[in-house]
């Protein structure tokens, strides 16, 4: 199998797919707005980042309030997810799409219908060529009890949405995907691998 070095693929180098797209909430001009974001950073157990285009409507709102929210949609919300990525808050009023609520930070609107909401305080801002990376400390988490099993978030109940690039009629496009089947137990299946290796070494 040939391994190909690719220096740049349509301006994109960050080819780890699929993404877990989320709805990022921010107050803009005092009103809730939601933007679909694929570039999310899992930085630590209490820190996360979202990357927003420099000229996007939400950018100024996050900058002004220094707060944002991350709202994880279900597969059943894929139309809303896509809609919030297609149309700017400058053109459409996204505050009417969901039941909005606020937490302790008061300026980070959150979506009641989403199974998970993270309310974040901006602690650092990094400017990159295309995006502003807003690094946030997670102030609060909100969970719908219906998506928990034994007090733990249950991904099979959440029914998450993934995004991956593809081509449609020769042009760059993308598609949404669902979570599939259970594969293996973490921190266990690798023990077998070690035994296999030992067996190989013995034989």
């Amino acid at each position: 199998m040939t391994k190909k070095k690719v220096s740049d693929l349509m301006g994109v180098k960050n080819l780890l797919f699929p993404y877990l797209p989320v709805l990022v909430g921010a107050n803009v001009d005092g009103k809730p707005n939601y933007i679909t974001i694929g570039l999310v950073g899992w930085l630590c157990y209490d820190a996360v980042s979202v990357s927003v285009g420099h000229k996007q409507y939400s950018n100024a709102g996050i900058r002004e309030n220094r707060t944002f929210s991350i709202n994880q949609p279900t597969a059943g919300m894929v139309k809303e997810l896509d809609y919030c990525g297609l149309y700017s808050g400058r053109r459409v009023d996204k505050s009417i799409l969901f039941e909005n609520f606020y937490g302790e930070l008061q300026t980070a609107p959150m979506i009641h219908e989403c199974p998970v909401n993270l309310e974040c305080r901006v602690i650092q801002v990094m400017e990159r060529s295309i995006h502003t990376v807003f690094i946030g400390e997670i102030a609060s988490i909100y969970l719908h009890e219906a998506y928990l099993t034994e007090g733990i978030l249950d991904v099979s109940k959440v029914d998450p949405v993934f995004f991956a690039p593809d081509k449609k009629q020769g042009k760059y496009s993308g598609s949404y995907w669902r979570l599939g089947e259970y594969l293996a137990r973490a921190w266990e299946v690798g023990k077998d691998f070690r035994s296999d290796k030992k067996d190989e070494a013995r034989s």
Copy 2:
């Protein structure tokens, strides 16, 4: 449905699941080592972060060379993925697990068997309570041609692995999952949603 505010769940606030776990490569004492990392940051089209525990074996290697690699495994590599998270490079030699190769940065070992490799140069280091966040600029991408469709990475060919937390016999545990079915076309399915909304407004 009740929405529950959770201030802290077993020390974890970053409850966006599932993760896309990867194998992070680093030279430690001049030898390839690989560590399984769930905390990955998609920061920009050419920047990415990986968060490594302060005392983990790879941490010193990344710090010393200021390079690392991200290697995405397939579902068929789940044992190797789990193994690299279970055992420290201080105890086991992970340089023998895969066919290693190096790129232009010369000190970031990569895994030939993985469909995607990102070779990264550290541009910033953030210390958090539990993790060091290594922010990297992507120098090169390597792709196996077998995983492309029309020159684009095809997630259905990659057969990616996800990680999500759960409980086993009452204790915190985790499981690996596969990608599921195609759900909808991006930048299109949301257009229907807008029409629906207009129809509602008309009716």
